[in-house]
Amino acid sequence: MPFGKTRENCAIAMNNEYHDADRVEKPVPDFPTAVVRDDRIGLLNKSNWLFLALTAACLGFALYLGYTSTVPDGELITVHFADGHGLKAEDALRFRGITIGQVEEIRLRDDLAGVDVDVRLRPDGEAVAREGSVFWVERPQLSLSRMSGLETVVGAKYLGVIPGPADAPQSSEFAGQENPPRLRQSSDVSVLVRFKDGSGIESGDAVKFRGVIVGEVSDVRLDENFQFVEVRAQLVDRAKVLAQTGTVFWVERPKVNFRDGIRGLETLVGGKYLALMPNPSDGLAQTEFEGAEKPPTNWQDWTPFSRIGDAWSKDEKNPADAMSGEGEEVNDRPARRVLGRIRETIEALDDAVN
């Protein structure tokens, strides 16, 4: 074994050096020769290219990482708000409960008139950057009729969005809404109602028809001449067909009346709402209305005298369409005539009583 041999060799070397010092010629000490083997990691040693490739791979990976994390891949949009509401960079933009973007920067406007929020959209959320999209800062809302955004009391604020119509053109500048909308659906129709008196209605209040929320008040303001209160409301889903000529809007508020009894008591606690009664006959699509100061009489007995919705596009599936589609044409003309006569009679009686 090499071990024993080596020790022998060493002993010889030492002998040569120290004990045979009296000899005349000094021979070179006899060192052992190193053992030659096959290099087990020979592959690494043989190829220079392997190492250069390794370095190149490192460089490539570093560049890739640098590129993907510094060059943003989504679109940048700007939303203008009057108030930042504690929003800060890195807060999320959420749609349908998931994050589709991130606030990149918040700047105060040069004229101090508001803040500009830059939002970097994720590639899959870029579709919300179209005209008509509504943005708001989600924050706690607590009132008798409404409680929302409670997760933002402790947690981070976030931006919410309702995308505009699907065929709207792309846009990158938006005006944010100050209040979170109550109805988280995209609106099809926006109507403008002019009232002599605002009666305390405010943005965020509901639009109800037969006690069901069909829309939302999005804006309340005085007109240019301080002559009217302009109430802008969004109607959603099928309710958009209610925006037609002859539809009456009024602000529902508590009222004690001998004829109708006590009504609108729920608005004492639940807040005011905008009520509407559609035109009983076919009307044309319309988006501007004069608001009524008091509710029309017997409005709850209202029956459609013809199929409503014809004024608006036909793509909306309503039950009447489905029925006629199956070939069972409902011939309700006589019934309508009878109802119309009854209604006229009632109105005549009303007049007589008054």
Binding site: P2, F3, K5, T6, C10, F31, P32, T33, A34, V35, V36, R37, D38, D39, R40, G42, L44, N45, K46, S47, N48, F51, L52, L54, T55, A57, C58, L59, F61, A62, L65, G66, T68, S69, E90, D91, A92, Q102, E151, T152, V154, G155, A156, Y158
Partner: protein, 196 residues
Amino acid sequence: MSGFKACHCCGLVHRMPTLGIGKVAVCSRCDTPIHRQRAAGKSTLPTAAAALGAFILFWPAILLPILDIERLGHHHESSIVTGTIQLISEGSWFVGFVVLLFSIIFPLLKIMMLLELSVLGLFHRKHRAVTYRLMESAGKWSMMDVLLLAFLVMLIKVGSLVQFQVGPAIFAFVLCVAMSMLASLMFDPHAIWEDA
């Protein structure tokens, strides 16, 4: 290759036989490889390549976000550098400087010295010994791998309290640690005086 070489493990001096390509001379007493014959090029090339790779990966590893912590909806992204700066600015001087020294400065120093020894050769030959000794001692204190371990421990321990995701820098960091280890593993001190 003739001449004598001492085994750097047990110190026994050997006569060097002529080596063919892909052969390695090992110590006759303790089996430690003393000298290996490469096909072509400087014998420092593997070290140089690995050290260069580590040097390239070092920058994304410390500059890009390594952790994305989310607590109660608040996002916080931090890289090693910003995290260290934050530690120091928040008054944790000791911890901040420990991280700065042992996770940023020493590893960088080690990688750069390996590069200098294996490929650059900026210093005079007689200073190389100093550089080598400095590299050896700096290498002992470069603790990127320890930091990596700390991250792993944190992932397991704090994972249930806050939500967090690792950022892109973690991959660069792991690779950088591996490359710098590879470089120092393959570094042959004899090669310093081989040429010139």
